[in-house]
Amino acid sequence: MCDKYKFDNVVRSTAWSPGPGCHGGCGVKLYVKDNKVVRVEGDEEHPFNHGRSCPRMMALTQYMYHPERFLYPLKRVGKRGEGKFERISWDEAFDTIEQRFNEIKEKYGPEAVIFAQGTGRDIGGAISFLCYSFGSPNWVQLGLSGQSCYTPRLGAMTMVQGAPCVADCGQFFEKRYDDERYQLPKYIVIWGQDPSAGCPDAFMGAWVVDCMKRGTKLICIDPRNTFYTSRAEHFLQIRPGTDGALAMGMLNLIIENKWYDAEFVEKWCHGFEELAERCKEYPLQKVSQITGIPQEDIFAATKAYATNNPSSIHWGVPIDMCPEGTTVAQAISLLWCLTGNLDVPGGNVIARPAFLITTYPYDTQQMKDLYGEGIMDFINTKRAGADQYKYLANFRGWAQPDLMVQQMIYGKPYPIKAAWIQTTNVLGGQAADLNKHYEALMNMEFNVVVDTFHNPTTMAVADIILPAATFAEKESFRTWYTPLQIINPAVQVGECKSDWEINLELARRFNPSIREKYPTFQHLVNERIGAHGFTYQKLRDEHNGWVYPTEGPSVPYKRYETGLLRRDGKPGFETPTGKVELWSTRHEEFDIDPLPFYKEPPESELATPELFKEYPLVMVTGKRSPLYFHAEHRNIPWLRSKDPYPKVEVNPKVLKELGISDGEWVWVENQRGKVLRKVKASIAMDEKCVSVPHGWWLPEEKGTYPDFFKAWTHNCNLLVPVGNQSSSGYGGGAYKTTLCRLRKVSPDEMPMLPPEVHDGAKEF
């Protein structure tokens, strides 16, 4: 064999987050030569991906060994924004952080330090250990208006059916589509997503293609035309943000026409009469007017879905970003419940982690054991938003992001003085209202950023930077959902440490019980998986790195019949009534509407007709790209070369009216700001919408103030407001429904600049 294919060793591992950046799950093989990963291949034996991969995984070596990657801890030595950083040791970094955080704690209380993350991935455990060990209740997805990413859908599913579920592509079985228990869905409804571009929430987009090849038909709901919509038997081209009306209309049709599963509803559902009454408010004609979809198309698609069991629904983040995101998700989840598609083969299956092993402790007793008796009350009363939103206070541990940014600026109801920022580039990524978040972070006395490269956030506000390891450099494990699999390090790069290692070390300094219980990360891993007879080593050496449960509560189907879903072991669902709650008793407890309803977007042709005259296009942001994970990867040559410019996709008719040409740079603007984009003319776009991909800043440009890698020139979140959160506190971020217009660029016109704001940094 020639030298090119000679390696020192091959490490089998699981991809998750740093590197490809994604929600992970794929089995990969890392080929090592001279202590460097020189090649990455998909693992053909791994049932999650069967050797298949994505552009970001194929480019992993360019990411790992990028000349600008952070390789050791840094501290700021100039003013914020000057870009002057100096190498320090890990000891100095940890000592400084410990000291500064403790000073703030003594003066203002532990709640004055926030712990900010980006999208889910493998950070929840590491960051909650640190946040709660320090004693802060403020674990937050800073910038993500309305916490509008999956949490609203998870909340809705938990209220309705006691646990989340996912479209069944056989992912709970090692043999996948060939497992004899599995059945192919007759239809998959893809609601607001291009699954191949993003692999969302432990779901590989290609699984939909696998099902299509085997005979599954599609129903697509999307404002854009995509690969999937053009292959769909039914395509409902929806007006952005009106998904709630469509779901209510579909529920109404299903009830009116008796397309529901009467036996399942009778035996397992609570509140059918009330729901039926509410649905009458959404007759077909009205729903058609709101959504812009022809009546006959809604009818045909609903009939196809409801009368062809099994069928499943696979949904995307636009649901969360609708006004009242939790209630829109509630309405959609009732569709699979009413039609008898819940926890059946080929339907929407209840998704639980393999062997019920969670990667970190989050049940109440475990939390109390680790962080002290008072922890739950403290978190659930003190975190931002807990006093205003009972729903939020009772579901998951998030602080409310729209309230948090206000609190960081105005110090009410109590001051926030420092931010730990990890797995998130707030200013180049998810933050709506960029100026407000810049002001808020500048106002902090002390900011720590854990990341892999400089970005607008590190440049603008970091006081200490810690270098994070990619998945190829770290030890970890994953149960989201199945299989139980390990992440197995192949190499060390620089002095980078994994998020787990970094956070556990600091957590030990703040909380002696962590030091005692988890002197090394392996202690934690083996505690989590050891109860089931596994060890990290055993999984690595004897199981290829993964194992599928073959029976028990984490294996489908129809677990509500056998008592596997409830803690008390009784049949039914883990809800107060033990049934699927079409009328939510918990919503009533939280003082919000127990039944789903529709609310018009905050800005739209119907809600704000005057504003619409001035800004007649709906700006749909957040289109996924397989080349980029959100705000990452613009510095990776193999990826950037394939999609080099921040674009706006526009229907050619709109361009003709405005006298704008394909390829021209234009302003996309509204009352809040303007960003520069290159036009891509495309009939895939509806004439009323433009698609403006998010996460754009230019790593090749100057990083120092006021350039900040041109974030203020290109980041479309300058145009997106905060403060539209739902009545639950979760959902409603207006990333898909903000109004805008396009304007030709005049030669002397400057882009926007970051505002001059108070710098609250305290010197070292």
Binding site: M1, C2, K4, Y5, R39, V40, E41, G42, E44, N49, H50, G51, R52, S53, C54, P55, M58, A59, T61, S196, A197, M204, G205, A206, V209, D210, M212, K213, N225, T226, F227, T229, S230, R231, F235, P626, L627, P637, W638, L639, R640, S641, K642, S682, I683, A684
Partner: protein
């Protein structure tokens, strides 16, 4: 002598460009060179629906991963292995023609 090549099922190419980066990794190309490109084609059909299609295009740089296969490292080119839609096949002309008959919208490229 047998002619080898690639077979694509256009029905299932999602346009993700995994094949392109797989090729660049395999051959050590920089961002500007690649053995395969993906072209996007968006058009209106007779029923008024918009079709979004992607067409993989092997360039002059494609050598069907000759070394990858001759060295015994793999039996398939890297693009074939890593395509998430599994819509690329590798083989000799006769094999590909037989496989193509079972595909929805097959295109054969022979090197």
């Amino acid at each position: 002598m047998k002619k080898y090549g690639l077979l694509f099922d256009l029905e299932y190419c999602v346009g993700c460009k995994t094949c392109c980066v797989a090729c660049q990794q395999e051959n050590g190309f920089d961002g500007d060179s690649c053995g395969i490109f993906i072209n996007e084609h968006i058009y209106k059909k007779n029923n008024g629906r918009v079709q979004v299609d992607y067409l993989p295009f092997p360039t002059q740089l494609c050598n069907l991963c000759e070394e990858r296969i001759s060295s015994g490292f793999d039996t398939r080119p890297s693009c074939v292995k890593h395509c998430p839609s599994a819509c690329i096949e590798y083989g000799d002309a006769e094999e590909l023609y037989e496989k193509a008959k079972k595909m929805v919208r097959p295109v054969i490229y022979l090197a």
